[in-house]
């Protein structure tokens, strides 16, 4: 059974002011209803004026997604009653969107894949309801209009995606593209919302509304595909319906059928003239986008395909990597950023932006100059990240290495005062049985002795060096 998925993605455009008024969009840490004016409150007599920057941003997206921008597009009113909707309608675009017929190439389940984009249009965000007194049965709700009028773009795909994982990959690629374009900040709460249409080939289509996280999309789709497959297996029919994704429980639940029958009574917004901006498109200079940057990382830095893809899949990570790679061995830096750092950050749920790139470059340099073992470098990284998480800053990696005495112990130029050799001698002296076993030909005894030496040197020696020294000593060369 083929899975067929199409997405509708709403992204907040990262403009300084709202779509139709001059209010600041930087509302997230502020009191409710402090970023409002007559226009975004929908006060009687107020009129919308389109934010030129928002149109430019939307056009950047349209161009990056290879869309056609029609000569004229039109704003329309979507009419419905909801307490967060201050005017009783949302200004959006309906039958004449800003841009149509584009595509985005992604890494699909079966290699490179082109996902067609149906349309890109602009609209305003409604306000936000805050429910008071319990999640399940709120006693009352308050409305915050700070979010009302934030510019959104809605990107609609054709039903070209074939699995929940592919949908996730598409979203990641789209997010990266939008961030590269400088029009979107994925780290802002509520900056992305997704509706997904999912069906099994030959069955009715189900719409999942309002998924608010990247991971949520894959989870919701996985649940929904399983639910639909099970239903078919039991001989039930899939009903065409709208379902809500309950993030906390990872399930979708049926929405009241009434919501599907909603008639939005779209008609052209009489307070805004048609948007004629096709002529702007040629003047838009797109920045380097993820695909191009990936190619460059491979060519310029010698990154592997997998590292290059990981590093360029996130704008901040790519920028971070380039700063680190500027002063270190780029291939080593790629491993350390893409594999080590990313893993540690994910474990701590920290953004890459929290890590100063020069600090990390210093750590990579320590590894590169063999001043610290890989294992101890990871240990230092963990300490530094924990410090950042705790107090927002951290000591220097070199200082940390010195403080903890983690500087690598070499095999020493001179015998006698060689700390590695003396640790090895100690281990040999303390473990006569292991020595005997080894000499009797039981090679695993050597591993035990290596472990003892590593313990004594607190990991500051490279296992290969320890091995060599032990063999030398045990062979009775001394």
């Amino acid at each position: 059974m083929n899975v067929i998925v199409g997405l509708e993605i709403h992204c907040q455009l990262d403009t300084k002011t709202k779509l139709f008024c001059g209010c600041s969009t930087d509302y997230r840490d502020d009191e409710p209803n402090t970023h409002v004016c007559p226009v975004c409150l929908g006060l009687p007599g107020s009129l919308p004026v389109i934010n030129r920057k928002a149109v430019e941003y939307a056009l950047r997206v349209a161009k990056a997604l290879h869309c056609t921008v029609p000569e004229e597009s039109v704003f329309a009113r979507k009419n419905y009653f909801y307490p967060d909707l201050d005017k009783g309608f949302q200004i959006t675009q309906y039958d004449r969107p800003l841009a149509v017929s584009g595509y985005l190439d992604i890494e699909g389940d079966e290699g490179e894949k082109r996902v067609r984009i149906t349309r890109v249009h602009m609209e305003e965000d409604p306000g936000r309801l805050v429910h008071k007194g319990g999640m399940d049965r709120p006693r009352y709700s308050l409305v915050d209009y700070n979010r009302a009028g934030i510019p959104l773009i809605e990107i609609v795909t054709e039903p070209d995606l074939r699995s929940p994982k592919e949908a996730r990959r598409f979203l990641n690629k789209l997010r990266a593209t939008l961030e590269y374009l400088g029009v979107f900040d994925s780290e802002k709460e509520g900056s992305l919302r997704v509706d997904a249409n999912v069906s099994l080939e030959g069955s009715e289509r189900v719409e999942i509304k309002n998924i608010t996280s990247y991971k949520g999309v894959e989870k919701a789709l996985t649940f929904e595909v399983t639910r639909q497959k099970n239903a078919l297996r039991r001989g039930q029919k899939i009903v065409r319906e709208t379902r809500h994704f309950v993030e906390a429980r990872g399930v979708t639940t049926s929405a009241r059928s009434k919501e599907m029958e909603q008639d939005y009574r779209y008609f052209p917004e009489p307070d805004l003239p048609p948007v004629r901006v096709a002529g702007w498109v040629d003047g838009i200079v797109l920045p380097e986008l993820p695909d191009a940057r990936r190619q460059r990382f491979m060519a310029q830095y010698g990154c592997s395909l997998i590292h290059a893809r990981t590093l360029t899949g996130d704008l901040r990570l790519a920028d971070f990597y380039e700063k680190v790679a500027a002063g270190t061995d780029p291939v080593l830096a790629a491993t350390w950023v893409a594999d080590t750092l990313l893993g540690e950050l994910n474990y701590r749920d920290m953004p890459v932006a929290a890590v100063p790139s020069d600090t990390f470059a210093e750590l990579v340099a320590l590894v590169q100059e063999k001043s610290v073992t890989d294992r101890n470098a990871v240990e230092v990284l963990r300490i530094l990240l924990d410090q950042i998480k705790e107090k927002g800053s951290c000591e220097g990696p070199r200082a940390c290495v010195e403080r903890l005495g983690l500087r690598i112990i070499g095999t020493g130029a001179r015998e006698g005062d060689d700390p590695l050799a003396s640790a090895a001698r100690e281990a040999i002296a303390e473990n006569p049985r292991a020595v005997e076993d080894y000499r009797a030909g039981r090679k695993e005894a050597l591993n035990f002795l290596v472990g003892q030496v590593m313990k004594k040197t607190r990991g500051c020696a490279k296992p290969s060096d320890v091995n060599a020294v032990l063999i030398r000593l045990l062979s009775g060369e001394e």
Partner: protein
């Protein structure tokens, strides 16, 4: 320095005002110290603005409409808010939630509407200047019925910012006064580009009226003298047109076939837009508080049922129907096509003539209750709505009387030729009109 104030205690026997400002401030400028009445659907900072609707009772705008700012900038004193049909929906001012306004020329009759309060305030001599709004004749109708002058400007020439929307694509704020020079003066203050109104035109209005109409070609559409037009009104208006001819204008009769669909196109458009514009009055932000113990969707429906008058509810329902899926094509889309035809008709006519003339209203002022049937009330707008559908300027100037009641001569002009419309009206007014 403390600003100067005016004392304003009018004898408002006709209920022209919903509320007055007893000691309004005024400043320096072209309108220094002149009392101006403002229709109650135009936002005035600090002064309650209700659109004569219960649903907006207690709403005090935190901002001035652009026209009000412009009036203040020229020194005018805002002396009060005038009565109107609720949200502008009506042609008699009987649809005010706060009681009707009487026609100062005959207290048994309506002043016309929906800017009936503004017209009555001027006609009663309470103010020299008033602002009205015209969606389908709401300035020209009461001007005609009360025997004053009222101009509906070219759509976009006067900012709509602060005008509480009824039918956005049709309505304009415009000047009302006892004579053409005062209308011209008020127009020169309120017209001009406003970045807050995206449909605003960059066309300031600086004009000195000229009474010279020699060579002006005046078209008279047959349809403006058709069925439903009181022959006595038609005769008075023809006399006025003849006077203009004697002053050197050239009179050309013509036809305007699109008139057949103008009224339907108008009502479908304005009701559709109204159904959307009035959705914001859901009891959360305006009017008396709703019963918060009820679920929201019940509370807001109740609030709307109680807060809106019958005519407003009728228009919201009809507009909602006209926009609903399955009917959009039949109604809203068709209305826009008919609207295009009206525009084209005007364009064609204006290649042959400079202005069009006819009666403003088919009859003189109605008696109270005479138009209780909504359809017959709608029909009375037939001569004024074409100008709104096309966005062109149109003026009503008093041109005589029938049984002691004023009759208005309507002059419509080319898009952006408000000045010429003013001139022809001025020529008539100065030419020995009644």
């Amino acid at each position: 320095m403390a600003g100067r104030t005016l004392s304003f205690h009018p004898d408002d026997r006709f209920h022209a005002f919903l509320r007055t400002v007893p000691d309004p401030a005024f400043g320096e400028g072209r309108l220094s110290g002149m009392p101006v009445a403002v229709k109650d659907n135009i936002s005035t900072a600090g002064i309650e603005t209700t659109c004569a609707s219960r649903i907006l009772t207690g709403y005090v705008p935190p901002f001035d409409a652009t026209v009000v700012s412009l009036l203040k900038k020229e020194g005018a004193a805002i002396v009060g808010k005038t009565n109107m049909d609720e949200f502008g929906m009506g042609s008699t001012t009987e649809n005010s939630a706060f009681g009707p306004t009487k026609n100062p020329r005959d207290e048994t009759r309506v002043p016309g509407g929906s800017s009936g309060g503004s017209a009555a305030a001027v006609a009663a001599g309470l103010v020299p200047l008033a602002l009205g709004t015209d969606t389908g004749g709401s300035i020209r109708c009461p001007a005609a019925f009360c025997g004053i002058v009222g101009l509906k400007p070219t759509y976009g020439r006067v900012s709509r910012y602060g005008l509480v929307a009824y039918a956005n694509s049709l309505e304009q704020i415009g000047p009302m006064a006892a004579d053409v020079p005062h209308v011209n003066l008020l127009m020169s203050v309120i017209a001009g580009y406003d970045p807050k109104d995206s449909m605003s035109l960059d066309a300031p209005y600086f004009h000195t009226p000229s009474m010279d109409v020699r060579g002006t070609r005046i078209g008279v559409p047959e349809e403006f003298f058709g069925e439903g037009v009181d022959p006595r009104v038609a005769s008075v208006v023809w006399d006025a047109i003849s006077l203009l001819e004697r002053k050197g204008a050239e009179i050309v009769t013509c036809r305007m076939p699109s008139m057949a669909y103008a009224l339907a196109a108008y009502y479908v458009t304005c009701m559709s837009e109204a159904s959307s514009n009035l959705a914001r009055y859901d009891g959360i932000r305006y009017g008396p508080p709703v019963d918060v113990k009820k679920p929201w969707h019940e509370a807001f429906q109740e609030r709307r049922r109680e807060g809106f008058g019958i005519e407003v509810r009728r228009r919201i329902m009809l507009g909602t129907f006209a926009l609903s899926s399955g009917y959009y094509g039949k109604y809203y889309a068709k209305a826009q096509a008919a609207r295009q035809n009206v525009r084209k008709d005007f364009q064609r006519l204006f290649t042959e003539v400079d202005v069009l003339a006819g009666p403003t209203m088919p009859t003189v002022a109605f008696r109270f209750g005479e138009k209780s049937d909504p359809l017959s009330m709608y029909l009375s707008d037939i001569l004024t709505v074409p100008a709104n559908l096309a966005g062109i300027p149109a003026i009503s100037v008093p041109c005589g009387k029938v049984e002691g009641l004023p009759v208005g001569l309507q002059i419509m002009g080319r898009w952006m030729e408000d000045e010429r419309v003013i001139d022809v009206a001025y020529a008539y007014e100065q030419g020995g009109g009644p």
